[in-house]
């Protein structure tokens, strides 16, 4: 890295390196060094704002009960007591399990049904195809809150209030997933499908052994986002899961927070709820960043 770095473009185009003096400790290089140092410090301060609240949750969750803790003091020791307690008292484990089912079942079913539909919409000619595609895309413009009431009435007529299936079913309609996968399937070369046909592969085998393996990257991305979306969802679970049988973690946390639960208990529950998201991020960070970047460019 040389004097190129002083361009606002930040040295990411090594080929476009501008005219520069001989290498060495030029004054410009020193200014750049100082600028990078300032930049690092500024970002460190901003990171403090983003991360400190999360660290505070962890500290509060791990503080022994009745010991002085944040914001006035740091606890002298840390303990897992609070976390053990929330697993033993109340319905917390059930909420956790409900949230897990709500997220995991939705991911599997959404990915499977959306891939099938995307394959048909991209590759098969059948009557009403374009109308259906148009209708699915159009639903993306309708905010879920606008259909909250009729969806609730429908589920309540089906007897799905306070059940897990009632919670999960309406959220399986995911237009974004179909739209995204369809773009992938559309971009596959036709020869692939010709070859499969010539080899005598049936429709289901073509889908299962050719299409699915090839769209794995987009499925991985979608799995992350569908999981996070369900795991963090509040409004629909709040409306349909009014009893513990179908109460998710977010709804439970919101109730805990308004009730007179102790700060250490609430924070312990909050910390546990965040761990899966953190694990997913740690494992799949590159994937998440790349997909957001991509969607941003594509609009």
């Amino acid at each position: 890295m040389t004097a190129t770095l002083s361009t606002p473009a930040g040295g990411r185009h090594p080929a476009g390196r501008p005219v520069q003096g001989p290498a060495g400790h030029s004054p410009r290089r020193n200014t750049e060094k100082r600028r990078q140092r300032t930049l690092t410090w500024v970002l460190a301060v901003i990171s403090l704002f983003t991360v400190a609240p999360l660290i505070a949750v962890a500290v509060l969750a791990l503080s022994p009960a009745d010991a002085p803790t944040l914001p006035y003091a740091l606890p002298s020791s840390l303990t897992l007591d609070n976390i053990v307690r929330i697993f033993n008292v109340g319905e917390f484990p059930l909420w956790l399990w409900n949230s897990f089912l709500y997220s995991a079942v939705s991911v599997v079913v959404v990915l499977l049904t959306a891939s099938m539909a995307a394959y048909a919409l991209a590759r098969k000619r059948f009557p009403g195809r374009n109308a259906l595609l148009w209708a699915i895309i159009a639903t993306m413009m309708v905010p879920v809150q606008a259909t909250l009431i009729p969806t609730f009435i429908l589920i309540s007529k089906m007897g799905g209030v306070n059940t897990l299936w009632g919670l999960i079913l309406p959220t399986l309609a995911n237009a974004q997933a179909i739209f995204l996968i369809r773009q992938f399937v559309r971009d596959m070369p036709e020869e692939l499908f010709d070859a499969a046909r010539i080899d005598g592969a049936g429709e289901w085998r073509t889908f299962w052994q050719i299409v699915l393996p090839l769209i794995r990257p987009v499925l991985a991305t979608l799995a992350i986002f569908v999981f996070l979306w369900h795991w963090n969802d509040l409004l629909w679970p709040l409306v349909v899961g009014q009893s513990d049988a179908a109460r998710t973690l977010t709804v439970g946390l919101a109730t805990l927070n308004t009730e007179t639960a102790s700060t250490s208990n609430v924070m312990a529950a909050t910390l546990v709820s965040f761990i899966p998201c953190l694990v997913i991020f740690a494992l799949l960070q590159k994937h998440i960043v790349a997909s957001i970047t991509h969607s941003g460019v594509k609009g």
């Binding site: 606002p8 999360l54 059948f126 413009m141 237009a175 709820s273 998201c277 957001i292």
Partner: protein, 318 residues
Amino acid sequence: MSINTRTRNTLAGRHPELTAPQLKPFGAKKARSREALAGILFVLPTLIIFGLFKFLPIFGAGAMSLTEYSLNGDFEFLGADNYVRLAEDPNFWQSLRVTFLYVAIFVPFIIAVSLAGAVLLDKLVRFTGTFRALLFIPYLSSFVMAGIIWTWIFSTDGPLNAALGGLGMGPVPFTSGPQLLVLLSLAVVSVWKGFGYSMLIFLAGLKAQPAEVHEAARIDGAGAWKSFWYVTLPLLKPVVFFVLVIETIVGFQVFDTIYVMTGGGPARASHSLIYFLFDEGFKFFDFGYASAIGVVLFVIVLILSLIQQRFFEGKDSK
């Protein structure tokens, strides 16, 4: 949706008349109907799910908004009465005012923060990945979690008021004070939780800018600030517009943080449109009226989506 280049360049793409009939000189018609059957079968699960839980509720919302609907399924047709009632309901106007005020605070706020984060990350040479991750992490949390954390931070015995107390200032009622303060506090929470996403979009936009333009600006003697204002930002305009629309829609849908932090209060100071819908629907079980509020929300979001689409189509055709 354009024909994609890869299929266009294949034999089948250039000469569609050569493929299917050549491969299947006999029984082409049969193959066609087999294909249609397969297509329908593959799309069937989605058709059922969407039919029941998207298409039906969308029409249901419109229909229900014209009725008085009770929990046991009895309904009475009212025509436009619910909308007339909305127009005369001070609580509706209050919630609309709250929502617009919140959007007016939240949107410039989140754009400024995410843009600043992206510009700083873009210029950084080392530890970029680390800082990007540190700035992005809150995005993974739920609004509920963010609300719980910030309820504690904003509370009278939380760290913020502890620090202010150390400076000799009285406790500030961040979530129970004057309306602007409460909405600002709520916006802070949503910005903290949400800006990572827009930041990454901005960052991608910045990375896509040609280095030559910036170099030219530098040679012409533009400083960092001028170069940002006159070169970087104008080039970034489409991305800024995209983020603006997305975040505006997010802003209009604000609910979770309000539910956790203020309950719409104090005295309806943070009673947003969705909160109003939620209250009318699930506190008063006035389903027809609540549906009408949903239709209003839909119209607002639709207008925003159309503006966005028009803008992007206009850009593509150039």
